[in-house]
Amino acid sequence: MKCTHMLYPEIVVAGCGNPLFGDDGFGPAVVEELSRLNLPDTIKAVDAGLGGPHFIFTLLDPRLTRKLIIIDVADFGGQPGELARFRVEDLPAGSYRDAHSWDLTEPLHRLKDEMDITIIGCQPKRVTAPEFELGLTEEVQSAIPRAVREVLSLIGVDYGTALKNLRKEERQY
């Protein structure tokens, strides 16, 4: 069970978004892929789902956590499925107003001096809110392996091997 691991790891990868809103499920989908890989115990991939602002920050310990990687959809005017990397400085500082504008940006601005924070954004094609719809579009689906590689390079895991060989169920011991 999880308790045998550290609950506050050195590196936290948080996939944010709602899989019920089409491409908004990109973050959780990347985390699902990451959780299939054999990663060091110091790394924790969290499916933050809809609870990012409320839950993730209590699961970081600034004394131990030194890197936070957030994966989400971001509309930066690119081609659907295109990835972009942002620093906290790229995000406007929000202000505390309500539980919803208590979004990711304000706590990130507060945390940025305590740990290294990177945001990986994927240009979505179809965010279906307020209608619920399951499933990513093909373009965004195809960005998952690229996002995984990006995360692996950010956390310094590079075994020089194909991704599938890192998968727990397919790994050759």
Partner: protein
């Protein structure tokens, strides 16, 4: 001559909602409508023909703050439909999960409401983010309580936010002895903190009850002693956890539930005729703004025995523990009293839990299409899910979430209060309105130009 004032969006709660208030010349609410303005649709349709294991996972994504309550209610209504009794040890893990969820939710609500309250003995409102003592110590304690709740939830539930361990028929994995002792240690630490936090919050609430006025937007607004009183009933299915159609004495009855459409309930078309730009966070809507709660409300109005009911901590204590405080202060007090209940219940469940016991029913029936329901007592009230499962597939699915029950009740409870304190009444319900999604919008140079909320 009545005037209409609109507060939109309401703040310091989860989700998007607004208040449309008809007030008299003195600013006292004659009729209030509190409604959800976030349209989130289609979960019932989405569930049809999915497997009974998939649907609770989908339900968990409906809300960012109660994924645990929705997962448990979703799973247990499936179990109710297929008539599946789960092993005792699985039930205990679910109780632990439930308590962990309630614990961190109450602590979050403390942060959201504290700015409405005064530090006892002073004329200073509380800013929970202030670096000054004594508030700093309180904020740290709230943070620690949240960490404890979430960590226990993560251990018992398998994941930090959307729990993956519960499943139809029980749980995927048992918790090891080591996990149990970790949760036990955290619960013991949490119990001390919860006692301290409960005492402090009750002192803060009692201090507020004695006040005659409150400052809102630079003005002194009278504070009625009957703030948030209403004459509607209360509804609670269980003092702590949940009830379902499998119980010998079910705590909820689907036959007593009816649903009416928003346009049968809310006010019709109108125009804002009173505005106050000094009202906190951007002022109220300007004069001339068109309002039409009948058409704007995004939720149906569920009734129990033909009338709206209050759900939540006060409803639980009134139903099961002879609690007799009313109104907003009663709701806040009841919520604080649940702090220690969560931890005692968690410790008792951990004591009883056997790490070597079975956590999965065998066999798991696949269902014959009969109706099952589960009423989970989520932090903010009774979360009822109903389902019909046949051959492992979902034929029918419905969610009646706590705040949907509270919308019409709270609307009635607004009557008689000055409009400036309407949000305080609303916050007493710890509302959790359906979630929208956030999206960051960035221009060609990959610089953020706005943060856009897609509704």
């Amino acid at each position: 001559m009545s005037k209409i004032v609109e507060i939109s969006p309401t703040t310091r709660h989860e989700g998007h909602s607004k208040l449309v208030l008809k007030v008299d010349d003195a600013g006292i609410i004659e009729r209030g409508d509190w409604l959800s303005i976030t349209p989130v649709r289609g979960v019932e349709k989405l569930a049809i023909n999915k497997t009974m294991d998939q649907v609770p996972k989908i339900a968990s994504r409906v809300c960012g703050i109660c994924p645990i309550a929705h997962t448990l209610a979703g799973i247990e209504c499936m179990e109710g439909s297929i008539r599946c009794e789960i092993p005792r040890d699985a039930k205990l893990l679910r109780i632990i999960l439930q308590c962990a969820n309630r614990l961190h939710s109450i602590a979050l609500h403390n942060i959201l409401i504290l700015p409405d309250f005064y530090l006892p003995g002073t004329e200073q409102k509380i800013n929970p983010f202030s670096p000054q003592e004594p508030v700093r110590t309180v904020a740290k304690r709230i943070q620690r309580i949240r960490e404890i709740g979430q960590t226990i939830g993560e251990i018992a539930g398998g994941e930090a936010v959307h729990p993956s361990n519960p499943r139809v028929g029980g749980m995927y994995k048992p918790c090891t002895k080591q996990a149990v002792s970790k949760m036990y240690d955290l619960a013991k630490e949490g119990l001390v903190l919860a006692h301290e936090q409960m005492d402090l919050m009750i002192a803060i609430i009692n201090n507020m009850r004695k006040r005659d006025w409150v400052e809102v937007g630079g003005k002194q607004v009278p504070l009625p002693k009957t703030l948030g009183y209403h004459s509607q009933g209360v509804m609670a299915a269980h003092p702590l956890y949940s009830s379902s159609n499998l119980d010998a004495n079910p705590g909820w009855d689907p036959k007593r539930w009816t649903d009416v459409r928003p346009w049968d309930w809310y006010m019709g078309e109108g125009e804002v005729s009173l505005a106050d730009p000094s009202y906190p966070i951007g002022g109220t809507s300007p004069v001339g703004t068109k309002v039409n709660p009948q058409m704007e409300a995004c939720t149906g109005v569920p009734l129990y025995d033909g009338a709206p009911v209050e759900v939540g901590p006060r409803a639980r204590l009134v139903t099961f523990k002879n609690f007799d405080m009313k109104g907003t202060w009663g709701q806040h007090t009841a919520r604080q009293l649940e702090y220690t209940d969560c931890l005692y219940a968690m410790i008792n469940a951990l004591d009883e839990y056997n790490p070597s016991g079975r956590v999965l029913a065998d066999p798991i029936p696949q269902g014959d299409g009969s109706l099952g329901w589960a009423a989970n007592e989520a932090p903010r009230g009774t979360d009822v899910h109903l389902a019909k499962v046949k051959d492992g597939r979902v034929l029918y699915y419905e969610m009646l979430v706590p705040t949907t029950w509270n919308f019409p009740t709270c609307s009635r409870a607004l009557t008689g209060a000055p409009w400036q304190v309407a949000e305080m009444v609303m916050r007493g319900y710890d509302p959790c309105v359906s979630c929208a999604t956030h999206m960051i919008v960035i221009d060609e140079d990959k610089r953020v130009i706005a943060e856009k909320l897609i509704q």
